[in-house]
Amino acid sequence: MIIGLDVGGTHTDVVLLGEGGLLKAAKVPTDDSDLFRTVLRGLTEISEGIAPPSIQRIVLSTTLTTNAIVQNKIPPVGMIVSAGPGIDPEYFRTNASYYAVSGAIDHRGREIEPLNPGEITRIARQFQREGIRHVGVVSKFSIRNATHELQMCEILRASFDKVFMGHRISGNLNFARRIATTFLNTAVYPIHKAFYRAMQKSLSTKGLMLPIRILKADGGNMKFEASMDFPGQTILSGPAASVLGAMAFCAEKADTLVMDIGGTTTDMAVLIHRDPVLNPLGIELGGYKTLIRSLETLSIGLGGDSAVKLVNGELQVGPERSGPAMAYGGPQPTPTDALRVLGDLKTGDHAKAVRGLKPLAQALGLPVTAVAAQILAISSQTILSAAQQLIDRINGKPVYTVHELKEGYVVRPKTILVLGGPAPYFARHLAQLSNYKVIVVPRWQVANAIGAALARTTCEVTFLADTERRVAVAPEESFSRRIPADFDAAAAEQTALELLREKAIARGANPEHMETEVLESMQFNMVRGFSTIGKNFRVKVQLKPGLIQGYNKVIAQLAQGAEAHEQGAGR
């Protein structure tokens, strides 16, 4: 059996899945000020009466690190960066204890200027005086040559609890993002570590001795131990959980839009033939642009509980949420109240919902039901325009080869899969206002937790080989090896895939079922004058996000009755 748990802004959803299907689901209110208790309560509720040994896997998607970053509740850390020529690294400052030092590496990984160890030692003493325990070190082009980061780490290691190095965090170029990402990893590390250590301890007192798995923003999970080196990858995992929850119900040969309509926000993503579209560079959070791989998602401040008000005589829905809907005792009218007024929603206090919409109706000179219809139309329209924005963004992504530009795939989803609390009620309105076929995901209330439960392990490897310098590197894996002059593209791909398998198993993947994929494989001749002096290979491989093996029955069982919620195509 598997437990999946997804912490949302309003509720925390948790499910128990067996091979035969969904065994149990629960919803507990999220207490942002005490996530530990929220998660523990969810896990306790779901595992009640279940023999601990029969639970094989627990996957958690939490807002722990996300909240810490957004609310800026992060402990002081030290950052040391070495830049060399280019943009002044002062522009990339992440925090007060941030130092730019000498040392430079060029784009091919050649040292231009050595590091000055004395400088690092002096800064280390300063950090210690400030009581800093965790340090991030980053050098420009460290993913081409990590020597300077390794040197800095060596000097610092003994004096600090943990040193994060930029080249271990992502194989992608982008110095500013590498700095920000290293900073975030360093900053959330103690919070992340304390939380999951304590969680593991509490669970073991209940007899649950298995390792916790944590969901990442790219829709994959990793084991808790592995997450210690990359705690930043756990930010914004919520949208990924939803996408995975919908994935099994996507058409195999078409594009699908997935929308999770929650209380506060609507998150959306696109799947091409069941593969979620990934953000090419990395997620943005709290003003930080990062190299944290994630699904390409778009989130808008519009959900069932969004506040509805009149602005310059026009109805406006969201982006704030003041509390639950008035039908449930909340302070301000919401789309949920509109659904209640129209009778779409059968629960909640009808009279209170009507009372909530009345002032709006009076101001607009319309019957209450007309205002309710307008609120839902505006909400649906806003969601649909955001979806179009997301599709345009994906299709507008630049490409760098003639082939890609000519053959470039154009995303054109015809179907929307909706999940989240108000999903079935919104489905009808979305279908009416568009040409999409709108399908409600089975068990839409907890589909996100099901998604978290069934997530595979994912990871990525970037591999570079330079036959002139006779060196191959995979920066994130601390891999570096001499290669012969006749090293070729096939050898490059093969080495990259071997490294990927190794990494995947360490992260918790099932060695029997690994769906690896070559994302990119490029080969360039390096020419001096008019003769070729070497070749440059660049390979990127990944384990695709997706659902784990062996739970097809769960999906089949869930799919039964899915059609009952299906809405026809729009007008």
């Binding site: 943009i87 992608n172 170029l173 003639v402 360039f524 001749n525 008019f530 440059n536």
Partner: protein, 439 residues
């Protein structure tokens, strides 16, 4: 956080799967290290810098400028459509005011491509700046355009296309043609009878460094631009004046290029040549982008940059000062020079031999231009290549007067089909391209 002072757009299209030949300087990885540097510096993350995906130009866009022999498809590849398309995308974004300035970092380049195209010259098949400019004139109604070509090689293709156009000021700064391909671009090349003075050539001696280039921009180019008052300024931003470029003999630098860009403030920059792909282009391109955006570029330097080592000699400085005086004098006297032409209403003939170095083609051309006080004049070209194709091409300029338009149609109609493999006409007044026999 970094913020651009000027909203800046970039099209980055390195064409990683296109080369003239495997070891040709114009090959796949030409912009590979530039991409590395641009990505690592995070230029696309700077607030106010936007990356655009290039549109493709259309057949019509190319035929508005060129007479391709035997047709467009034969002398181009998809990459030319994209590279010109990248320039067009930037041009549109500027004129739509989505950005203040833009840079099309695209390949292959275009400034050696002339109006008639039999093949590739100087790695260029179609003139991507001209294709962009004529599209912008057609779609947005802009009129006066200045092109400042800072590639190390004389922009002879662009010069040829705008030779007779009084509304296009073409200024080329390049290494002296006596020492470098294509061997042209001297101050006495002033433009045709209807556009005297609107072609300006500033040949610089070998080993010119930052001082000389910036002197030429400040003391020659900027005053002339002030005088001409263009609607937009285009920079053909070749990067082969670099001190490490393998094909040239200049001593320019990334700092120099950035400062040049900051002085020139072009609305649109389009990449041309530049073949020091590891040691120069990554730094030069970052410098140009930051300068366009108005972001601090003071630390963008090549690893081996030493301004003392590349400083130009006093003799070089003197030569440049002298060229500057000559060029400014010609600019001041352009109306006088025109008035001294004996026949200011007749038809002027010019005969040329044009060599396509990349494709090893020889072309013989005879050109007739109607000297006209009212417009850029009807143009007729008889072109014959050693590949055996003989064409007649007629160009009616954008703002042609009635008489020149009629003359153009008369030339086109009266051409003897037996003498030519193809007879072409561009009627820019109606944005039409005609061909006999019809396809």
């Amino acid at each position: 956080m970094l913020r651009a002072k000027h909203r800046t757009g970039l099209v980055f299209f390195p064409a990683f799967d296109w080369a003239i030949s495997p070891t040709h300087p114009e090959r796949q990885e030409r912009l590979l290290y530039t991409q590395d540097q641009i990505f690592e510096e995070g230029l696309f993350d700077i607030e106010g810098i936007t990356e655009f995906k290039p549109d493709l130009v259309t057949l019509k866009d190319i035929q508005r400028v060129h007479f391709c022999v035997p047709d467009v498809w034969t002398v181009t590849t998809e990459s030319h459509f994209i590279s010109a398309g990248g320039a067009k995308t930037i041009g549109m974004a500027v004129l739509d005011q989505r950005i203040d300035r833009g840079f099309a970092l695209v390949r292959p380049p275009g400034h050696h491509a002339m109006r008639v195209v039999h093949g590739s010259r100087g790695f260029c098949n179609i003139n991507i700046e001209a294709v962009m400019i004529e599209y912008l004139r057609q779609a947005y109604g802009i009129d006066k355009v200045a092109i400042v070509d800072t590639d190390c090689h004389h922009g002879d293709g662009t010069q040829d296309i705008y030779w007779h156009d009084p509304d296009t000021l073409f200024i080329s700064i390049h290494q002296d043609g006596r020492t470098l391909y294509p061997g042209s671009g001297f101050p006495n090349e002033l433009g045709g009878v209807n556009a005297i003075g609107k072609t300006i050539n500033i040949p610089l001696p070998p080993h010119t460094s930052e001082e000389g280039f910036l002197y030429a921009i400040q003391n020659i180019v900027l005053p002339i631009l002030d005088d001409f008052k263009p609607d937009i300024i285009i920079n053909s931003a070749g990067q082969d004046n670099h001190y490490t470029d393998p094909l040239t003999n200049m001593n320019f630098s990334a700092q120099g290029y950035a400062k040049l860009t900051a002085l020139l403030q072009p609305d649109i920059a389009v990449l041309e040549g530049g073949y020091a792909i590891e040691g120069a282009l990554p730094y030069v391109n970052v410098g140009i982008v930051l300068a366009l955006a108005g972001v601090d570029f003071s630390r963008v330097k090549e690893p081996d940059y030493d301004p003392e080592r590349i400083r130009q000699s006093a003799a070089v400085s003197r030569t440049i000062a002298k060229i500057g005086e000559d060029v400014l004098e010609l600019w001041e006297q352009r109306d006088e020079i025109h008035s001294q032409i004996p026949d200011r209403t007749g038809i002027h003939e010019r005969q040329r031999r044009i060599f396509y170095d990349t494709d090893r083609i020889f072309e013989s051309q005879i050109e007739w231009i109607k000297a006209c006080p009212d417009c850029a004049g009807a143009l007729r070209i008889d072109s014959n290549s050693d590949r055996g194709l003989h064409i007649l091409a007629v160009h009616i300029p954008r703002k042609a007067c009635r008489a020149c338009k009629d003359l153009g149609y008369q030339w086109y109609a009266s051409a003897k089909p037996k003498r030519f493999d193809m007879i072409f006409m561009q009627d820019r007044t109606e944005d039409k391209f005609l061909k006999r026999p019809p396809p």
